[in-house]
């Protein structure tokens, strides 16, 4: 037990000055621990919300996009590849997105909003391409907002998961290392000071009795 104590104790001089300093540090550490723990709880709450949204969006997008791509492949089979390539290489609409950031618990997460310029017209003549292709392109265009939202959410989930992990380490470091160490050292200094005091009293009594 003695060995463990010396290990957990900080290497400081047992003086009243140090005791005062350590007490202040302990209060800070305890308060910091509480704050971080609250932060962690809130982050986890938000994380679970985002996680569910991510799953929901992905499931939705997965089915729709697979359908659109399948239809497009079908259309591709009906049109010569070069005609298709020529039809699609000059899109009429250039999708632009406003890329900002949004703070989630102090983390910068992306905030993307779609602003489609120009019309929603298809970029080719109807005679060139089959209606299946039209449909699939429209479907993909309609999916874009959802895909962007998914991109946003997924990035937020990622960033948040790392932040939660980091925060957890901080909480643990405070809870299992810093705070016990400080408490241990404070106890040690108190004992030492008490001991010194007793020694001083005994010495005085001894001196007193000698006279």
């Amino acid at each position: 037990m003695g060995a463990r104590r010396t290990m957990a104790r900080l290497n400081v001089n047992p003086t009243r000055m140090e005791l005062k300093k350590l007490k202040a540090r302990l209060t800070t550490a305890v308060r910091g621990h509480k704050l971080l723990k609250d932060k962690s709880d809130e982050m986890v709450r938000r994380f679970t919300v985002l996680l569910r949204e991510d799953k929901r969006l992905r499931d939705e997008v997965e089915d729709d996009l697979a359908a659109a791509l399948k239809q497009f492949a079908l259309a591709g089979a009906l049109t010569p590849p070069y005609v298709q390539a020529a039809a699609f290489c000059m899109p009429a609409t250039a999708v632009r997105a406003d890329c900002g950031t949004e703070s989630i618990m102090g983390i910068d997460a992306p905030k993307i909003t779609l602003n489609e310029s120009a019309s929603s017209a298809l970029p080719y003549a109807f005679s060139e391409i089959t209606s299946e292709a039209d449909g699939s392109v429209r479907m993909v265009a309609a999916l874009l907002p959802k895909l962007l939202r998914l991109a946003e959410v997924e990035k937020a989930v990622r960033l948040l998961s790392y932040e939660i992990e980091r925060n957890k380490r901080r909480v643990n470091a405070l809870e299992y290392v810093m705070i016990p160490q400080l408490e241990e050292t404070i106890k040690y200094i108190r004992n030492k000071l008490d001991e010194n005091e007793r020694a001083a009293i005994v010495r005085l009594m001894k001196v007193d009795s000698l006279q």
Partner: protein, 104 residues
């Protein structure tokens, strides 16, 4: 910040996105996808990556995790569907330590 959107993937996948107004960067295999993604991620804040390249390019994708942009989103193309679940599991594992969605 104004930004354009790009998509990286096999030709059949990206061309439909191109028609919808997304800048398309076809990549026929893993290696060219890696090269293309690295280049595209510089210029475009939002990049869609065809899902079949997500697993082989995991190490590259990890590097985009640090900051808000660029956002690289593996999109489901119907061929492979593992990515979404794997991603959610990985994040859950890291942040919570338990599986709250799939319960396996």
């Amino acid at each position: 910040m104004q930004g354009k959107i790009a998509v990286v993937g096999p030709y059949e996948t990206v061309s439909v996105f191109q028609a919808a107004g997304v800048a398309a960067f076809p990549a026929a295999d893993e290696r060219s996808a890696r090269e293309t993604l690295r280049r595209v991620a510089h210029d475009y804040p939002v990049v869609f990556l065809s899902e079949e390249y997500a697993a082989p390019l995991q190490d590259l994708l990890k590097r985009f995790d640090e900051a808000a942009y660029p956002v690289v989103l593996p999109i489901p193309t119907g061929k492979e569907r593992g990515y979404g679940e794997a991603f959610l599991k990985d994040s859950m594992e890291r942040a919570l330590g338990v599986d709250i969605l799939f319960r396996k």
